[in-house]
Symmetry: C2
């Protein structure tokens, strides 16, 4: 029995999330991958994924794994998958990994990036990949607020109901707000994320950018542990799962652009 | 009677070109704009466009104009249009212009940009906006070939049948090949373009990049004035109409990144 790890990129626009559902509302990433594997080698497998992205969320660096009896060499797997997959899903890499590797549980940290299009008139070519906010946002306030979110906290305020997490303690190594003209990118790197956590963080930072919340209110909002304190949830289509890490290297070694936490 | 000029951006993926057709194969940009204007002010107009983009071609700077009796102020026009247009078409600017302005005939020069995704595995997020060529292209050969295309030539070799041009003489002020990692951008700036001309130029440059044509063969290919000499036509979905100019300023004053012609 082999354990295969895949690195996967997908455009989430046409998918109802990652996880296969019993009564499907539509195609899922997991279901599509499992079906293609079955067509390739006539074997039913269950694919485990690092981050269970919601409907409409994208990934440039999702990681999955599955156990198989197939003998196809690892370097032939991406091409085989890609020949049958729809064009909005691509396998970037396949590797044989130890039997006890699990894409979700073996992860040391993950990186998500969120894109906001802050032009008055939305950009047509990124409309499916960013949240359009026509009102100019105050970037320095957002940056100040983001700093308060970094570190180890109980993130219950930022967790939607419906998640399966037993604890709400997580470490957010970095929450970085950057602006390149009217494109705002928010990068979140942490050891784990609660259900909808990044989207609730982004929604809250957008409220800060609009002046509805002051940066100094963030510590109190975290401490409250009440979901309604965080208000807005940012739409799914601006969110990307960028990277899942399995080594002991720190996020700042892998992504020097994130600058170390001070 | 007023003459209104609009700057328009659109994602051409779901459109059968710009020009309204008698027996439509599907929606067109022109037809969609005319219908929305009719809904807005109950007036039928005919919209003239600067560049008649083919099915699937995109625009970030298309320009159109139309004559109207409506009294809506120019600064209210973009918002009015955008409230009824599908999200893949946006009006960026509206201005009152002199009665004799025509988006097509008044243009002094135009800029097109073409994107090639030269990674082995295609990028999912730009798959609708670039031509995927998995074989690594030789950029310096392409650049050398592009230089031969610049200047005033008879471009009959690079014109598809079906255009309505009476002459084939055009000036290509700039044909610039740039690479940013695996994304190759080809910018073409000229006083006029024949039917499919940019796509045939890009197809030819791609053949140069693959080593099928030597850069030194380009002058002979131009002189031949035979369409079959240029072979490949690049797909529509990598092409963007970026800018239409109406002033006497040179392309290098408007786009310093294009560097002057030597």
């Amino acid at each position: 029995m082999r354990n295969i790890r895949l690195k996967v990129a997908y455009d989430g626009t046409n998918y109802h999330g990652f996880q296969r559902q019993i009564e499907t509302a539509g195609p899922t990433i997991q279901g599509t991958l499992e079906k293609v594997w079955e067509r390739l080698v006539e074997e039913k497998v269950t694919i485990a994924m690092a981050g269970r992205t919601d409907a409409g969320v994208h990934a440039s660096g999702q990681v999955v794994n599955f156990l198989t009896e197939a003998r196809i060499p690892e370097d032939k797997i991406p091409k085989a998958f890609n020949s049958l997959l729809p064009k909005d899903i691509r396998i970037l890499l396949a590797e044989d990994v130890p039997w006890d590797f699990n894409a979700r549980w073996s992860a040391t940290w993950k990186r998500y990036d969120y894109h906001i299009d802050n032009q008055r008139i939305p950009e047509v070519f990124t409309r499916l990949y960013s949240w359009h906010i026509p009102v100019p946002l105050n970037i320095s306030s957002m940056r100040e607020a983001a700093k308060f979110l970094e570190g180890r906290h109980n993130f219950k305020t930022f967790a939607a109901a419906g998640g399966d997490s037993k604890t709400f303690e997580r470490t957010l190594y970095r929450c970085l707000v950057r602006a390149d003209q009217d494109l705002i990118r928010i990068s979140c790197v942490g050891d784990g994320f609660l259900y909808h956590m990044v989207r609730i963080i982004v929604g809250t930072l957008a409220d800060v950018g609009r002046g509805r919340i002051m940066p100094g209110e963030i510590p109190g909002i975290i401490e409250s542990q009440e979901r309604r304190q965080a208000r807005l949830i940012a739409p799914a289509h601006g969110l990307f799962l960028t990277h899942v890490n399995y080594t002991v290297e720190s996020p700042f070694e892998i992504f020097p652009d994130l600058e170390p936490l001070i």
